[in-house]
Structures are given as structure tokens and as C-alpha cells.
């Protein structure tokens, strides 16, 4: 860690409480002495404690696992909890993640957006057998080890919303499913337990709010905190869906 004398961080936060009718958005700057190993999780809690106990933000796991704390750090969407302040300049700007409903200050309602997305794309295993009671006394169905690993790769998304905030397309098409949505469809598509056909997926994402809306700006992959291969997943789904389009 740094051996110089501690820096004084100037953290500017976009503050606004939409619950209070007379409130107007403003930027507040807080000065904080940097500590060894300080993350934005630690810094924001310090600010809440020392300067303003009403400061709103969302941390849950504070370990980069749950995806709650995404925000704009110097304009870039990322997980605040695992952002070390040493990696940033002394002047840091924080703003809530755009595209999501604002609860207040740095707190946004990503959960509501993701719920809508999951319902829309039906992000669960579709199978007739599952509807009947699974006979869980019997051996599980086998799966090729490599395939299980591949499914886990796409399953690592934490629904943090960074890809949505970093997406150019969604600025023009508010119903665009985003990289998070297309990656999820790709996840179910490679999963043999899900019996949906390409035609079913086409109905979900075979339009401009789906895979054909993506302009390949790839902001999503640049900002994904889990380094998911979003570009190749979108390309994969586009290839599959183009084939469907040709059939139709």
C-alpha cells in the first residue's frame, strides 16, 4: 500500500432525494483522509458517519459478490465496494447508476428493473418434466463436465446493472434487454435442461429491443465487473437468431 503521508480525498457525490418534493439535485463534496486499503465502501460509510447520516447508498456483501453497489465512479459504472481509493485520483466523483429508478443519492432500484427483465425473458428452466414432481430420490441427470462449466461461466452475472448503464443502445431504445438479458438467454440456450427452441428465443429477443437492437458499441463488456464475455455471447445469439429470421 502507499507509504507516503495519507492523501486527502475530495469525494463529490450527486445528492438528490426524490421523496422530498422541494429537494433539488446538487453535488456535495466531502473531504476524507485516505486510509490504508480504503475502498469506496469504507469511504462512503465514513462520510455517512462523519458528515451526513442521511446519505443513501446500497451495499450488501461488500465483497464484490452480490452486485448491489454499482454506481458511476468518475463517470464509469462499476462496483463501489471493491474499488480501492488508491486506484483513483484524489478527486473522486460519484453518481447513481443511470437508467434505473432513483431511490435517493447513490441508491437505485436495480432490483425492480432486473425483476422485469427476468419475467420478460422467462429466465428459468422450461421443461415439461419439471412441471411434474421431480423424482429426486433417483440419480440426477448426467451432464458433460465441460458443459456444466460453460453454463456456470454465463451464470456468473450478478445483475449489477453496469452493462445497462454502459449501454449506448438503451439510450435510444428504452425497452432494450441489454447485455444482461442477452447473456441470460445465451445461458439458457446452451443448457440442455431448458427445452425451449430457437423459435421460442426468437419470440423473446428476435427484434430491435432484443439482439438486433445492439449496435455493438460494447460498452457493456468494458464495464462488466465479472469480465463476462458479453461480446461473444451477443454475437452467438445474433447468429442463432439471424438463422431463425431467415427461416421465418
Amino acid at each position: 500500500m502507499n507509504n507516503e503521508s495519507a492523501r486527502t480525498l475530495k469525494i463529490s457525490i450527486l445528492r438528490y432525494n426524490p421523496q422530498v418534493p422541494e429537494d433539488k439535485p446538487s453535488v456535495e463534496t466531502y473531504e476524507l483522509e485516505e486510509a490504508d486499503g480504503m475502498t469506496l465502501f469504507i469511504a462512503l460509510n465514513d462520510i455517512r458517519e462523519k458528515y451526513d447520516e442521511s446519505l443513501k447508498f446500497d451495499f450488501v456483501c461488500r465483497a464484490g459478490i452480490c452486485g448491489s453497489c454499482s454506481m458511476l465512479v468518475n463517470g464509469k459504472p462499476t462496483l463501489a465496494c471493491r474499488t480501492l481509493t488508491t486506484k483513483l485520483d484524489e478527486e473522486i466523483s460519484l453518481a447513481p447508476l443511470p437508467m434505473f429508478e432513483l431511490i435517493g443519492d447513490l441508491s437505485v432500484f436495480t432490483g425492480k428493473w432486473m425483476r422485469g427483465l427476468n419475467e420478460r425473458l422467462e429466465t428459468w428452466i422450461h421443461s415439461e418434466e419439471k412441471k411434474m414432481k421431480i423424482d429426486s430420490d433417483r440419480l440426477e441427470e448426467r451432464m458433460e463436465p465441460d458443459l456444466a462449466d460453460d453454463i456456470y461461466e454465463t451464470d456468473r452475472c450478478v445483475e449489477c446493472g453496469c452493462c445497462v448503464a454502459g449501454c449506448g443502445t438503451i439510450l435510444m431504445r428504452e425497452n432494450f434487454v441489454g447485455a444482461v438479458g442477452l447473456n441470460k438467454v445465451a445461458r439458457y440456450k446452451i443448457d440442455p435442461r431448458d427445452k425451449r427452441s430457437d423459435a421460442d428465443y426468437y419470440d423473446l429477443i428476435g427484434d430491435e429491443d432484443g439482439v438486433f437492437g445492439c449496435m455493438s458499441l460494447m460498452g457493456c463488456e468494458d464495464v462488466c465487473p465479472k469480465d463476462l464475455p458479453l461480446q461473444s455471447k451477443i454475437a452467438y445469439m445474433r447468429r442463432k437468431m439471424v438463422m431463425m429470421k431467415d427461416d421465418k
Partner: protein
């Protein structure tokens, strides 16, 4: 005010709450689930290492079955667990994992042929059988006789929680996010639901239900450093306690995980050691074999944590500005293994320590991790004293874990308890007895009381207190005086100091005078409640004058079955009390399948109960006689301790294995 009616109210959206919700929905009950955060953000997601279920598919798991899993769990609990509950659990765990597989969890699978593994610091070649190819594999974890912990890389909790929440989406479970239950509605020993506060608007809503289930996880955040998510503040246990009727069990049973990173306390999974990682000291010396020659790094968690502290006390810790620590060295596993099977660990090391664990050892020390204690229930998950209140998962003291939980048994418990409790709740909801008859007047009274409490927090006061200093003081007391090693003097101080903090907390004044989204406000009422839980924990620890599982008293190093083979039962009958009321529930030896014995770590210091020997002789006799008659393991088990009649019928079946067909 808004009043919502449902059959089943579930508080908490982690694995236990979600599984319970889908279970009751399937049985035709209407269900509403309240959660502080979107369910996929629950602390279940942080479980890295895996889920125990005795599938026995991989070569090092061969021969595993319910009996072995049961024995490990009971020994791990230091005989504190409820043996019937443990039996119900081990029989259901394989079903739970298979169900989750069908629901989409990409469990890591057995690959036939040779693969390299590291066992006791040596490279060995294991050969997986062709017949097992493609079935769910398992890794080694502490305190288990077989490799039984099933996993998906090191994102097991994440994969399970996502599959579970997706299933809840499919089942159209009504989930109300950012809703905090702040009080249970009850009258005459019957729970009728909860008053909840919308954390975005501050609005209070009453949820009226035939059955109310608390699945809010643990209370680790009463400690200064904890691996737990910041929402694990024990509010479920606290609102149950505040009814004055529901009781909490074994609150002093707190687990410290051996390997959380220093200083921030984020977990690195037990899988690191299970896969062959080592613990070393300031000289790079591997010290665990000196203390535990047999199980070494893979002794039970409580044992490893204590040995680490002992070793640091000998001056063998690595000095740092954050105090002493030891090293977790996984370099011997190789980069390929780390990047595939321990990727979250690698990400955590990179993000929070700035190190690559394939190149450098990880600074670790034992850190608060799990709450064995919680809302005391019977085997059905129902409060023993408040009808209609249920609890499952870490929030509950069901009691699967006794005084020490095995790694991999927590996510397993969440799902299994969710499955079972959902059935019992549904059975209850189908009876006449479950019908409710309460007036809106009573509901309003409960809401008004909460409203008044919230408004009082905002009122100007003389010598006003602020929530943060009180919370920090509590966290420090718990760390320093109710930690891994405990003693009477420190615990007495802790209890007295916590009581003073609780009294002071009644004088908290919230400076931001708004009842809407206001973190200062929720911090205020939560710290008042956390202080009560801290007192239950410290008082329970003070009065338990023995060492059992994770509860280690320096002044009483023996496990004392004669006096303390029991559960601590805590209640808070009068809201003006400043100290919990403690009581004890005996654990009966005469019905045990596995009578109390030596756990096999260190020296045997047990003060035995005379009944243990009598029961052991009886068990041996029954076993011998039945074996001579050619009885199979199921028949013998049934005679030793019948439990199947307690299981819901749909979960009584025998579990098929590759080598054991029915």
C-alpha cells in the same frame, strides 16, 4: 393504513425463504415474501464453497451415505444438535441437490479418468470411475469423513440462489423488495403476521397471515469484523424476541471461520483448504499437523480457528498494523486450479489485497462467520412458544448445528429446511386451527406502536445519543470479550457494558427528521435491537460454564455433559427489561442414535453424563443383535431412533446412489 392478507408471509429472500415460498405455493397457499434487498443480493450468494449432500459420486466420496453424513454432523455439533432434525436433514439433502440440478444449478460434474489432487500437501492422482462420469462431484471440507461438498466452482451460493430465485419468478411468488419487517403482530400466543416498513417511502404496511416465517439469516454484524453481509443484523431474531413470547436458542453459539482476509474480514472459502491449501505462520511453517495430526487443516472450523489463535498467542503470527495474522497458502494448487475452482477467491485477493494468490500467500485470521443460534423452533420449524411463527435457515435454531456447524451444511440447511418447513406450514394452513380471526383494531394498535416508536426516535432529547458510537462500542465489546476464547471476567464486563449501551440507546435522537428513506433512522432502531441480541449472546456465553463446539471458555475448558448438555433458551418477556431472561432446555441422551462421545480433537476433556454410557451400551447391543439377524442399515437406524414418521411423506424415500439402488 394498508393491510395485506395472505396465507403465508415469509420474511427474508435468501435461499431458505425462497425455497419455503415456492414450497407453500406449490401446495396451493398464497404467499408474500418481504425482503430488504432483491433476493438475488441476499447473503446466500456469498456462500462460496459448497453444499453437503451424500451423493457419493466421486471416488473420494464412495461409500458415503446418510449415516456418515449424520455422524459427521453430530460430532461437528459437539452433540448439541437435535439428532432427529439431523436425520431428517441428511435424508433430504441429496433430494435437495437433485432438485436444484433440475432447476438449473450447473453443479460441477465428475470427469472420468485420472486427475491430480493435493491431499495433505502431496500431489496424488485420483481416478474417477467411468460410471460416475457426468454425475455431480464433490470436494473435501473440514470435519467430514468423505468428500461430500458439492459445488459450482467457488460460486455455489450464487448459482443456487439464482436458480432458486428464477424458480420463484416462474412460480410467480409475490416478492416485496426493500420492505423491512419491524414488528410481529400477535395476540394470546398466536402470531398473525408483521408490520413492515417500506425502506424507500417509510410507509408502514400490515401483512396478515395464517403462518409467518422468519428466514432472515444470522446476526454476525453484532461483531466488529464479520464475513457476513452488512444486512446480517439479526432483525428477524430481534422482532421474534420482542414479542416477549417467542424464544431464541443457543445465541452464544457463534462460529468463527478460520480464513477471512485481513483486515476487511471477507471470506476465503474452506474449499481452499479442502482442495489442498495450507495454513502457515510467520516462518512459513505449516503448524496445523502439530496440533491436529489427523485432520490438520481440515479439522472442524471451531478447532482450526482456536488452533490458529493459540499459535498466534505463541508469537508465531505475522505482525501487521491490523494485528497479527497467519497465511493461507494455496500456491501449491497451481494457477490453473485457482483460476477455475477458486476464482472468487482470486478476485477477492486482487480487489481487496492487491495480491495474486497463485503467487503470494493470503493474510487470514479467524473471523465471525455463522450464527448457530437463532429462533428456537421444533422440528417443524415452528416456534415452541408462539403459534403460527415459523423460522428456517440460519435465522433459526432448528437445531441442526448445535455448537458448531460443518462447512457446507449451511446452504444445505437453507434449502432442506425450506423444503420441509414449507410442507409443515402447508399442512398447518390446511387445518381449521390455522384460521385467523383478528380485528383491524389490533392490527392498527401494532402499527401505531411502531409509528410512535419511530416518531420518538426523531424527537429532540437531552443528552441525545447517536446510533453509530453505540454500535461501534457494541461491536468492539463482542469482538474483544465474546470472541473465540471466552472467560468469566471478560464476559461479565461485556454483559454489564452492553446493558449500559442498551439503556443509552433508548435516548437515541435521529438528526434528519424524516420518516422516509433515511439510513440514520433504520440504523437507530436496528442498533437498539442488535444490542438486545448482543446481550443474549454475551449472557448466554457467561452462564454456559463449559466449552462446547465454538463456545470455548478458558476458565471451563471441559465439555460438561453433566451440567450443560442443553440448549440456552433466551426470551425478553417485558420490554422494559434491560437483560434477557435465560432458561435451559435439556437434550435427552436416552433417545439419541449417537450418544455423546469424544469428538477426536486434542485431549478428551469431557465431563461425561452417566446416561451416555448406558445409552451407548444399549445402542451397541441393538446394533449387534440386529446385525446378527442380517438387518440392513435402514432397519437398524429405525430401531435406534425412528424419525421418518416426522418427515413429510413426500421426502421419506430412500436416496439412490450409483452403488446403492432400490
Amino acid at each position: 393504513m394498508k393491510i395485506a392478507y395472505t396465507d403465508v408471509l415469509i420474511i427474508g429472500g435468501g435461499l431458505a425463504g425462497l425455497r419455503c415460498a415456492t414450497g407453500v405455493k406449490e401446495r396451493g397457499q398464497d404467499v408474500v415474501l418481504l425482503t430488504l434487498v432483491p433476493p438475488k443480493r441476499s447473503h446466500s450468494a456469498a456462500a462460496q464453497g459448497g453444499m453437503q449432500a451424500s451423493l457419493g459420486n466421486c471416488v473420494k466420496g464412495e461409500g458415503d451415505n446418510e449415516d456418515v453424513h449424520f455422524g459427521d454432523t453430530i460430532r461437528g455439533s459437539d452433540w448439541g444438535a437435535d439428532q432427529e432434525v439431523a436425520r431428517m436433514f441428511v435424508n433430504t439433502a441429496p433430494k435437495a441437490i437433485r432438485e436444484l440440478a433440475a432447476w438449473g444449478v450447473p453443479w460441477t460434474r465428475v470427469r472420468k479418468g485420472d486427475h491430480q489432487a493435493i491431499i495433505n500437501a502431496k500431489k496424488v492422482t485420483l481416478t474417477e470411475k467411468d460410471e460416475a462420469h457426468g454425475l455431480i462431484t464433490a470436494r473435501d471440507f473440514g470435519g467430514t469423513k468423505k468428500w461430500r461438498t458439492c459445488y459450482t466452482s467457488d460460486g455455489t451460493g450464487h448459482s443456487m440462489l439464482y436458480a432458486m430465485d428464477n424458480k420463484a419468478h416462474e412460480d410467480e411468488i409475490k416478492v416485496h423488495e426493500r420492505m423491512e419487517a419491524i414488528s410481529l403482530i400477535h395476540e394470546d400466543g398466536r402470531c398473525y403476521g408483521a408490520i413492515a416498513r417500506n425502506l424507500m417511502t417509510g410507509e408502514l404496511v400490515a401483512y396478515i397471515a395464517k403462518a409467518t416465517t422468519i428466514a432472515t439469516g444470522g446476526y454476525g454484524r453484532i461483531y466488529e469484523v464479520s464475513t457476513n453481509a452488512v444486512i446480517c443484523q439479526g432483525m428477524g431474531q430481534a422482532i421474534a424476541l420482542e414479542t416477549g413470547i417467542a424464544t431464541l436458542g443457543n445465541m452464544e453459539a457463534i462460529q468463527f471461520h478460520p480464513t477471512a482476509i485481513v483486515p476487511v474480514g471477507i471470506l476465503t472459502t474452506e474449499g481452499c483448504r479442502g482442495d489442498g491449501g495450507l495454513l502457515t505462520d510467520k516462518d512459513g511453517y505449516r503448524f496445523m499437523p502439530d496440533y491436529e495430526p489427523e485432520k490438520k487443516e481440515l479439522a472442524s472450523r471451531d478447532v482450526v480457528s482456536r488452533r490458529m489463535v493459540e499459535h498466534m498467542r505463541k508469537g508465531k503470527g505475522v505482525k501487521s498494523r491490523y494485528g497479527d495474522h497467519l497465511w493461507l497458502d494455496i500456491r501449491n494448487l497451481g494457477r490453473k486450479h485457482i483460476e477455475k475452482n477458486l476464482r472468487e477467491v482470486k478476485e477477492i485477493c486482487e480487489s481487496f489485497l492487491g495480491i495474486d494468490p497463485a503467487e503470494k500467500p493470503i493474510p487470514v485470521r479467524p473471523t465471525q462467520h455463522y450464527s448457530m443460534g437463532g429462533i428456537r423452533t421444533n422440528y417443524k420449524g415452528e416456534s415452541q412458544t408462539l403459534k403460527g411463527l415459523y423460522s428456517c435457515g440460519e435465522a433459526a435454531c432448528w437445531d441442526l448445528h448445535g455448537f458448531n456447524r460443518l462447512g457446507g451444511n449451511s446452504v444445505a440447511e437453507t434449502v432442506v429446511a425450506g423444503m420441509l418447513v414449507a410442507e409443515y406450514i402447508s399442512d398447518f394452513c390446511e387445518t381449521k386451527e390455522s384460521e385467523i380471526d383478528i380485528s383491524t383494531k389490533l392490527v392498527q394498535e401494532f402499527a401505531d406502536k411502531q409509528q410512535a416508536k419511530l416518531e420518538y426516535l426523531l424527537e429532540p432529547k437531552e443528552n441525545a445519543e447517536s446510533p453509530y458510537p453505540l454500535r461501534h462500542a457494541m461491536e468492539k465489546i463482542m469482538m474483544n470479550k465474546v470472541g473465540i476464547f471466552r472467560n468469566g471476567d471478560d464476559l461479565t464486563d461485556a454483559v454489564n457494558e452492553l446493558e449500559q449501551l442498551l439503556i443509552r440507546s433508548k435516548n437515541i435522537e435521529v438528526k434528519h427528521k424524516t420518516l422516509t428513506a433515511n439510513p440514520e433512522l433504520f440504523n437507530a432502531y436496528r442498533v437498539q435491537r442488535m444490542l438486545k441480541l448482543a446481550l443474549c449472546t454475551a449472557k448466554g456465553a457467561l452462564q454456559r460454564k463449559e466449552s462446547r463446539g465454538a463456545h470455548a471458555r478458558e476458565d471451563y475448558p471441559e465439555r460438561n455433559d453433566k451440567e450443560f448438555l442443553n440448549r440456552t433458551i433466551t426470551s425478553w418477556p417485558d420490554e422494559n427489561q434491560t437483560m434477557p431472561t435465560l432458561d435451559y432446555e435439556a437434550i435427552e441422551i436416552e433417545s439419541m442414535e449417537l450418544p455423546p462421545g469424544f469428538r477426536g480433537y486434542g485431549k478428551d476433556m469431557t465431563i461425561t453424563h452417566p446416561d451416555s454410557k448406558i445409552r451407548q451400551e444399549k445402542v451397541d447391543e441393538i446394533r449387534k443383535e440386529l446385525e446378527s439377524k442380517g438387518a440392513n442399515r435402514f432397519e437398524i437406524q429405525e430401531v435406534l431412533m425412528e424419525y421418518k414418521s416426522k418427515l413429510p411423506e413426500c421426502y421419506r424415500g430412500k436416496n439412490e446412489r450409483l452403488w446403492e439402488k432400490f
